[in-house]
Structure formats: structure tokens, C-alpha cells
């Protein structure tokens, strides 16, 4: 398989077939939490794309050069791969913190555009999910970064679609027992079913 084909498969797989929210069920909390209005959904999407790409890059660096192979230290050969989860959490949290500090100084418009969503992403399981998946699939740094970016694009796509649906739902006459979160969850389920239609594409 050629490299171009491999990357194409990676991107389409990440955006449509194995969509983070609708097929893997990761990042459901922001998916339901910030999807009430389209503009907040766009803000969140931007922040997630930014952080997930960066996090995939850094965590895959750590995985490939620190965790994957045993390190020989003073005659001992030590495998540190069991530290994967705690290390990824530490790195992602610090990374987001770091990005926030730097962004506030060098690009206040971008900082205010991302707003509260940037620190919220620290606890977003989609970011942790992409780091773990990268390690599990044994992706190289380049592949992992591309996968991270397009997974986030898939998340953004799902979020924007869902928030548009919810804005329309605001005007609909929903029966009382289904109002609010209930109809939102039903809508999410139907949206997920439509994305299942992409399965088998690659």
C-alpha cells in the first residue's frame, strides 16, 4: 500500500468511519455540553483541533522514544510502557496549561476566541483517547499527528452537525417528557446511526 493511500485511509477513517464521537463514543461530555449553540460549538471545535493535534504529536514522541522500547540504564533493561496513561495525562495537562499561558501573551484574539474551552479540554477524554489509540496502533510521529488532527476534525464535524440540529430543535414542539437532554440524546443516537452507514468504507 502506497503512503498516500495509507494517509488517505487514515484521514477518512478518522473523520467519518471511526468518528470519535459517533462511532467511538469519546468526548461525549463536550458533545452534549457545548452543543446548544453553533458559535460555542465552533469555538470548542477550534480548541479541540488545536489541542488534539498538538497532544498527538507530543505523546507520540514520548511513546516512540521513551515507552515503546526498553531503556537500558546501568546494565538494567527497563520497560516503562506501564506508565503510559499517567504520563499521557501529565503531559496533556501540562501542554494545555503551557499553550494557554503562551497564547494569552502572544495571541490575545485567539486566546479570547478559544476562551474557557481551552482549559476544559484538559479533561476531555477524546484527547486522551487519541493519545492511547496512537500508541495502540503503533503509529509513527507523523502518522500520529495526522491521525490526531483528523480525529479532531471528525469531532468538530459531529459537534457542528449536532449543534445545528439542536438549534433547530429549540423551535420544535417537543413533547414534555422528551424536552431538554432527553431529545438531545435521542438526536445524538440517530446522528450516530447515520454515521454507522460509513462503516466498511475503509
Amino acid at each position: 500500500m502506497g503512503e498516500v493511500q495509507q494517509y488517505l485511509q487514515l484521514t477518512i477513517g478518522a473523520v467519518l468511519v471511526y468518528n470519535f464521537v459517533l462511532a467511538r463514543f469519546l468526548g461525549i461530555c463536550p458533545f452534549l455540553g457545548v452543543s446548544k449553540r453553533l458559535d460555542t460549538a465552533l469555538g470548542m471545535s477550534g480548541a479541540v483541533i488545536f489541542v488534539m493535534t498538538l497532544a498527538s504529536f507530543v505523546t507520540s514522541l514520548i511513546y516512540n522514544y521513551l515507552l515503546k522500547n526498553p531503556i537500558s540504564l546501568g546494565g538494567y533493561s527497563i520497560r516503562l510502557d506501564f506508565l503510559q496513561i499517567i504520563l499521557f495525562i501529565l503531559v496533556i495537562a501540562s501542554l494545555v496549561q503551557l499553550v494557554e499561558i503562551v497564547l494569552q501573551k502572544i495571541s490575545p484574539p485567539l486566546y479570547s476566541a478559544l476562551g474557557i474551552y481551552l482549559p476544559l479540554i484538559t479533561t476531555n477524554c477524546a484527547v486522551m483517547g487519541v493519545a492511547t489509540l496512537n500508541a495502540k496502533q503503533d503509529y509513527q510521529v507523523g502518522q500520529a499527528t495526522v491521525f490526531g488532527f483528523f480525529s479532531a476534525v471528525g469531532f468538530a464535524l459531529a459537534l457542528v452537525l449536532f449543534s445545528s440540529l439542536r438549534e433547530r430543535l429549540e423551535l420544535a414542539q417537543v413533547p414534555k417528557p422528551f424536552q431538554g437532554m432527553a431529545i438531545a440524546l435521542i438526536t445524538a443516537g440517530i446522528l450516530s446511526m447515520t454515521f454507522i452507514g460509513f462503516s466498511g468504507l475503509c
Binding site: 538494567y76 527497563i78 520497560r79 476562551g115
Partner: protein, 280 residues
């Protein structure tokens, strides 16, 4: 045992490095923030609900300090908290005129002819989009309560198909002003107690056909009042809120408004009773 020690050392080293890097960057990239923003943020309830339209309380505090939003726009803060914020900032900003919202229409279900039956979504914007709404007057209150739902303080009540503001509850945040598709809600100085509850620019006769309480620009109030207390604008008169001496409730007796659109705030709340002369 080695692996145990190695894990602890690895985590400690990475943690220390990351902590150090964050500490140093925080120093290098420190941003000076207006201390008033922190002050306002502390006085806010800290619910981070986003009800004000901003991303969290810190963001809202910033917009309050810059003057973009009034502190009353926070839907969670009690009136005491809003007052505390206004006071904290007001010392520097100077005294501001306390405002109150008023719905400039007196046409409830009994005063105004209902032309069509509307069965759609109970929302003023939706209703106004369909052939100008159910009521006869194309400039009157639709009575679906879009403004009442927008009010964070529950100060607007829809009484018999007419939105009325309870001045005691209204903080003058202006959240309702934009929601009215007919632009009937105005923020006026709290000192103004009398208003002309009509916003229709049509001719008197045309208004009389659809409503029993329009302003027909007879100018009785203008003559009874002092100079510049009223503004005549085409076929209607309105209270001049910029006047040096605002018109007081004593005008109601002197003007003898023939249609009854010149009302006090309490008169508007009980428009039924006001029409029969029970409340001045």
C-alpha cells in the same frame, strides 16, 4: 525493585521538568491584567453558566469593566451582588442614571382587536413573521412573552396578552430590549413614572379602529405639561425622557387623556382597572 525505582524517578523527573517549564513560561509570558476585572470576578456568583452570553464569569467580568455589559446582565447574581459590583466600579465610573424597562403598548386582549387566530409557536418573533401577527395593530405588543422569557429577573409578566414590567423587580439590564420584534421595550430613567403607552406611528383614526387605548396625538398632555416634557413625533406623542424635569404622576389628572394611553407604571400593571378609573 529496579523497575519500581525507575518508574518513580521517571515520573518525578518528568513532573519536575514540566512543572519547571510551566513555571518559567508563566513568568516569561506574564500578562498584566486590570485588577478591577479580578475584583468584579470575585463579586460575581462564579456559576460559569454562560447565561450572559460570555464564556464564563471571568470573561463577563472583563466585559463589565470595559463597559460592554452592565453588571445586571448576569442572570445568576442577586440584586445585592449586582449593586455591589456597580458600586465597586461606580466609584470610578461616576454616578449612572438608574434605568428601568418599559413596554410602550397598552393593547391587551380587551383593548385591542384580535384579527386572526394564531396557533403557531408561542414566540413573538415567530408570530410577527406571519402576516404581522394576530393582533389588529401592526405595532403593538404580541403578548407571547418573548421578553418575559428573556428576563433573568422575572420582572416581565404577560397579563391578558400584554407584557408589563414590574418596576420593583426590573434592574434595567436591557436583556428584553432586543427580544421584542416590535421594538416596544425601552430603557428609561427610573425617575420617569408616567409613560405614553403607544408606539404606533399610524394616524389616529386608523389606530382607533384596532385599539381602544392608542395615542391619537390630541396633545392634551402636551398642553397640560411643562415645556419640553413631551415630544410630538408624527401622529403620536411620547414622554421626553431627556427633559430637565421629568413629567410626574400629577399630569394624569390634569391632562385627562381621552384614550387612556397616558398611564403611570402602576396603571399599566392594572390596565383593566385603570380603564374603568379605579386606579389613577
Amino acid at each position: 525493585m529496579e523497575i519500581f525505582i525507575a518508574a518513580v524517578i521517571a515520573m518525578a523527573v518528568i513532573g519536575l521538568v514540566l512543572g519547571g517549564v510551566i513555571g518559567i513560561t508563566a513568568r516569561l509570558f506574564r500578562v498584566e491584567v486590570d485588577p478591577r476585572i479580578e475584583l468584579v470576578a470575585e463579586l460575581l456568583p462564579g456559576a460559569n453558566c454562560g447565561g450572559c452570553g460570555k464564556a464564563g464569569c471571568a470573561d463577563f467580568a472583563k466585559s463589565v469593566v470595559t463597559g460592554e455589559n452592565p453588571p445586571g446582565k448576569c442572570p445568576v447574581a442577586s440584586r445585592e451582588q449586582v449593586a455591589a459590583i456597580a458600586q465597586a466600579l461606580g466609584i470610578e465610573a461616576g454616578a449612572t442614571v438608574k434605568k428601568v424597562a418599559v413596554v410602550l403598548c397598552g393593547g391587551d386582549r380587551n383593548q385591542e382587536k384580535v384579527q386572526t387566530l394564531y396557533n403557531g409557536v408561542s414566540d413573538c418573533v415567530s408570530a410577527s413573521l406571519i402576516a404581522g401577527g394576530p393582533k389588529g395593530c401592526a405595532y403593538g405588543c404580541l403578548g407571547m412573552g418573548s421578553c418575559a422569557r428573556a428576563c433573568p429577573f422575572n420582572a416581565i409578566e404577560v397579563v391578558n396578552g400584554l407584557a408589563v414590567v414590574h418596576p420593583r423587580l426590573c434592574v434595567g439590564c436591557g436583556a428584553c430590549v432586543e427580544t421584542c420584534p416590535r421594538h416596544l421595550i425601552k430603557l428609561v430613567p427610573r425617575a420617569a413614572k408616567v409613560h405614553i403607552y403607544c408606539s404606533s406611528p399610524e394616524k389616529g383614526a386608523a389606530k382607533m379602529k384596532v385599539c381602544s387605548v392608542p395615542c391619537i396625538a390630541c396633545r392634551k398632555c402636551v398642553k397640560a405639561g411643562e415645556e419640553e416634557q413631551f415630544v410630538i413625533d408624527g401622529f403620536k406623542v411620547s414622554v421626553n425622557y431627556d427633559a430637565a424635569s421629568l413629567v410626574g404622576t400629577d399630569i394624569l389628572g390634569r391632562a385627562k387623556c381621552p384614550t387612556g394611553c397616558l398611564l403611570s407604571e402602576t396603571g399599566h400593571l392594572k390596565i383593566e382597572a385603570a380603564q374603568t378609573g379605579e386606579v389613577a
